[in-house]
């Protein structure tokens, strides 16, 4: 491919495995007494977030700083964009400042890819979430967290073969689901989408996966439940008839958690709607909820991506 990371669906299995294996190294760095290395000293990374984000932004920020890169913030609300400058001109201006990478989040699917094409090879573009399209670092960190849970680490040939993952919730409006699906399938996992009919994706023809609206039916065969956030802000009018009905059918309630097999693990990309996707008591007390590991691994995954694109001298292909 290139010196950009736009969509995991563009990467072949070897490229994904290499990023996950590199993540092993940065997990170790993150556990050191001084969890910082000088690898990207002198490199500058601009954060260009057109959509609100707390955890993804902090995670990228921390990853860049732990690699000794300088991080600047592109203020999207008060910038020249609001004076009518085109996004592409703005991106080129940022490049002319000597920035080495743009980390972009935008509500419009495909926009980071367009900017990557516009800036070419001179600047790396990293997609931090674009519309309903993709969230590649979230997909990588979810896959890494599962590799770590089931195998201890990713290793050279990361694999989720033999693992059955259920992606549960608002799949239709979820870029996380799309990136998760790409990486899980690449690593050989079996994936089942579990969603009410109105939240099932409409582009299903391209998705070679099982799909159901009955969580309890597939639950006994699942090794992983990947919960998605109910995105009230993305859905506009009420698509889900009643939150209570959703909880009843798809929420990880105390009683449903008791029926899960002991080895099942739960992922959630955050932020969690407590009491909707998952009950308070399950989230706080169960050892098989990997949410905190996801957040911790997110920093290491993003260090791996940044080092791979900016430091290794090797292109992702």
């Amino acid at each position: 491919m290139s010196n950009h990371l736009i969509n995991l669906a563009d990467l072949d299995r070897d490229a994904i495995r290499e990023l996950l294996h590199l993540t092993d190294r940065f997990v170790e760095v993150s556990q050191r007494p001084i969890p910082k290395v000088p690898a990207l000293r002198g490199r500058t990374i601009a954060m260009v977030f057109f959509e609100d984000s707390t955890r993804t932004r902090m995670s990228f920020d921390l990853a860049a700083k732990r690699l000794s890169a300088d991080v600047i913030d592109f203020p999207t609300h008060t910038s020249s964009l609001s004076k009518g400058e085109s996004l592409q001109d703005t991106a080129e201006t940022i490049g002319a400042l000597g920035v080495d990478a743009l980390i972009i989040r935008h509500s419009s699917g495909g926009l980071p890819g367009e900017i990557a094409e516009a800036v070419g090879e001179t600047i790396s573009v990293i997609n931090a979430g674009d519309g309903l399209n993709a969230h590649p670092t979230q997909g990588l960190l979810d896959a890494y967290t599962l590799c770590q849970h089931f195998h201890g680490s990713a290793g050279i040939e990361a694999s989720l073969s033999g693992i059955h993952v259920g992606i549960v919730g608002d799949v239709k409006h979820s870029r996380v689901a799309r990136s998760d699906l790409a990486v899980y399938r690449s690593l050989g996992a079996k994936v089942t989408i579990v969603a009410p009919p109105e939240l099932q994706p409409t582009d299903l023809d391209n998705w070679p996966v099982d799909i159901t609206d009955d969580l309890d039916e597939v639950l006994p065969t699942l090794d992983v439940v990947g919960l998605l956030r109910i995105q009230k802000e993305r859905m506009g009018e009420t698509v889900v008839n009643s939150i209570d009905d959703y909880i009843e059918r798809y929420g990880v309630t105390e009683s449903r958690a008791n029926r899960m097999n002991d080895n099942l693990v739960i992922l959630h990309p955050g932020p969690v709607n407590r009491g909707i996707e998952i009950a308070d008591t399950v989230l706080d007390k169960r050892a098989n909820v990997l949410v905190n590991q996801q957040v911790t691994n997110g920093v290491a995954v993003r260090m791996a991506v940044l080092f791979r694109l900016l430091g290794s001298g090797v292109e992702i292909d």
């Binding site: 590199l22 050191r32 001084i34 290395v37 690898a39 001298g313 090797v314």
Partner: protein, 188 residues
């Protein structure tokens, strides 16, 4: 020679072709035995001594040194591994990847760290290693043990314990393993 160097040393890639055997297996073993005695003598025993092997060429050598030190003194010296890729000064100038494991389980503060590598060449790996070590604590002293010192230093770095000084041309390649030390070159 480490796999990584085999792949990454300019001109990138190629096949190592040996020309001369510099040391055979018995001579390597004798050299490491002498180095073990020297480490013990210099530090008046092995108290606070820690071996840190540089990935990947130093790992097997450190394993042998650790066994010899145990045979001589009956002390099990803590041993770690260090990959210095993220500390190199040529990041961006050539492909650099941290491919091997860094595993240092103990606080190095107050310890005597003996860095172990197979070949000392430009000294840049050791410079990177000295930077990396400071992230694991403040050692009381850092010493350097290598099987081969082949010259061509680019930095003011010298070894404390040397198996053999070997004059080489810059374009030659030295391959160290427990079965012997070979001198040769890369052929396409």
């Amino acid at each position: 020679m480490a796999d990584r160097e085999r792949r990454m040393t300019p001109p990138y890639g190629g096949v190592f072709v040996a020309r001369t055997t510099v040391l055979d297996a018995a001579q390597v073993h004798r050299a490491l035995t002498r180095i073990s005695h020297e480490i013990i003598e210099r530090n008046q025993g092995l108290e606070d001594v820690v071996l840190v092997a540089l990935q990947t060429g130093g790992v097997e050598i450190a394993r042998l040194l650790s066994r010899l030190l145990f045979e001589i003194e009956g002390v099990d010296v803590p041993t770690g591994t260090l990959d210095v890729a993220l500390y190199r000064d040529d990041i961006g100038l050539r492909p650099v990847m941290p491919e091997a494991e860094t595993d240092i389980q103990i606080d190095l503060g107050g310890k005597i760290v003996v860095l172990v590598d197979d070949v000392l060449f430009t000294g840049r790996t050791i410079r990177a290693a000295l930077d990396a070590l400071t992230d694991f604590g403040r050692p009381r002293a850092v010493q350097l043990a290598v099987v081969i010192d082949r010259g061509h230093r680019e930095l003011p770095i010298r070894p404390d314990f040397v198996g053999k000084n070997l004059p080489t041309r810059r374009d030659e390649v030295v391959d160290v393993n427990p079965e012997g030390v070979l001198l040769g070159e890369m052929r396409k």
